[in-house]
Symmetry: C2
Subunit: 249 residues, 2 copies
Amino acid sequence: MSTKEITNNRRSFLKTATLLGAASLYPIISFAETSLDVKSNILAEGKLILGMVVFDGFQLLDVFGPLDVFGSLRDKVSIIIIGEKGESAKSSAGPVLKLDYTFSNAPKIDILMIPGGGGTRREVKNEAFLKAFAVLAESAPHVATICTGSAVLAKTGLLDGHKATTNKRAYTWATSQSDKVTWVPEARWVEDGKFFTSSGVSAGIDMALGLIAKMFGKETAVRIANGAEYVWNDDPNRDPFAKMNGLIK
Amino acid sequence: MSTKEITNNRRSFLKTATLLGAASLYPIISFAETSLDVKSNILAEGKLILGMVVFDGFQLLDVFGPLDVFGSLRDKVSIIIIGEKGESAKSSAGPVLKLDYTFSNAPKIDILMIPGGGGTRREVKNEAFLKAFAVLAESAPHVATICTGSAVLAKTGLLDGHKATTNKRAYTWATSQSDKVTWVPEARWVEDGKFFTSSGVSAGIDMALGLIAKMFGKETAVRIANGAEYVWNDDPNRDPFAKMNGLIK
């Protein structure tokens, strides 16, 4: 999807929402004016935009676990990849992902996500990255972090006063990014207001399904998990890795 | 890693292996001749090459679940992405992955993998793809398929006479690609000789950990699963999705 298409879709949607006085965050069908792209269908007009922010040294499963499950909602959600600059981001394991947008031209995001990975050690010290990421996170109605992605969000200050969790092996480092966050040591994921924060790596899949359950209903989340032959840990408090890593007795 | 680096590493390794009369498939340290890249370390010389074959319409988690867990073995395994042609492949969910190689210039692969996804419907009819993929699969000492990736492998004929499994929802279509394969309806994954075939999507993570256990020891697989905060289903016969999809009573 091009910037222009998204901008047009966005503009149509916002205009429609204003016309209808619509408060719903999840318009599946909108009676939008005809966009400049006459081939676009009505459903596309109302799609939510999921923006995944990446950086060199991102952890593969942090990104692609959540995107795989949200990828099953093609009629409701468009996925875009956002980086600080350049044209791609290299994962810690090697594979290189193409960026669709950079911070400078990213559209408004409905569901913003940020993964963990070795690269977070660099980004918590990168003022330009933190500032641009915070702008997106402030305006997004849903913000989700996976693994040490919560360390980056915490560093912006936006998590202050909120409950959150993070990777259980990197817990000391991640939680040191802000002492104004109520860090939860035993949680698969934590929901607090618009923020969803998950535990390490694979926990992002469970959290993403939790977010889908909140937004589209639990039945939809269960259907997607079964389609991926995934045994969903649907209890945010069930976390065997807190004890394993000595965070609780 | 560049083609040149891989070719050099490969050449050094093969020469060393011949000199030593080494039969081991997993040389962690090789006494290789100095490669042209004097900065490369000895460990890098003996790295195995994991080649993930992708195509437009690949399923994200099929690719990045296994690559995430193998990505924890950076001192032993180099990951490369291979496609039929072009410079990238677009997943069914949208994100675009850069190719490191195409079939025409891919190096010899130690661990070959192929995912499933909507694109497999096209590739089972793509003679050029099947032929080139079969060449890689014939020479690779380990071949692993995720989800409907087994349909593509089955179509090459290389699975004939072997046991295998596949996605449980797309079971009828996938198994119709060869009636000379002994398809196993209830299995998280199946190992038969050099072939590892997994059930749908997330099952690829369990299978990849099973392959790591075989190649590097179960302790290594458990350590990687725990690091990813992943509750590994380590029993290839434990498959709740066979019954759910009506394949067994």
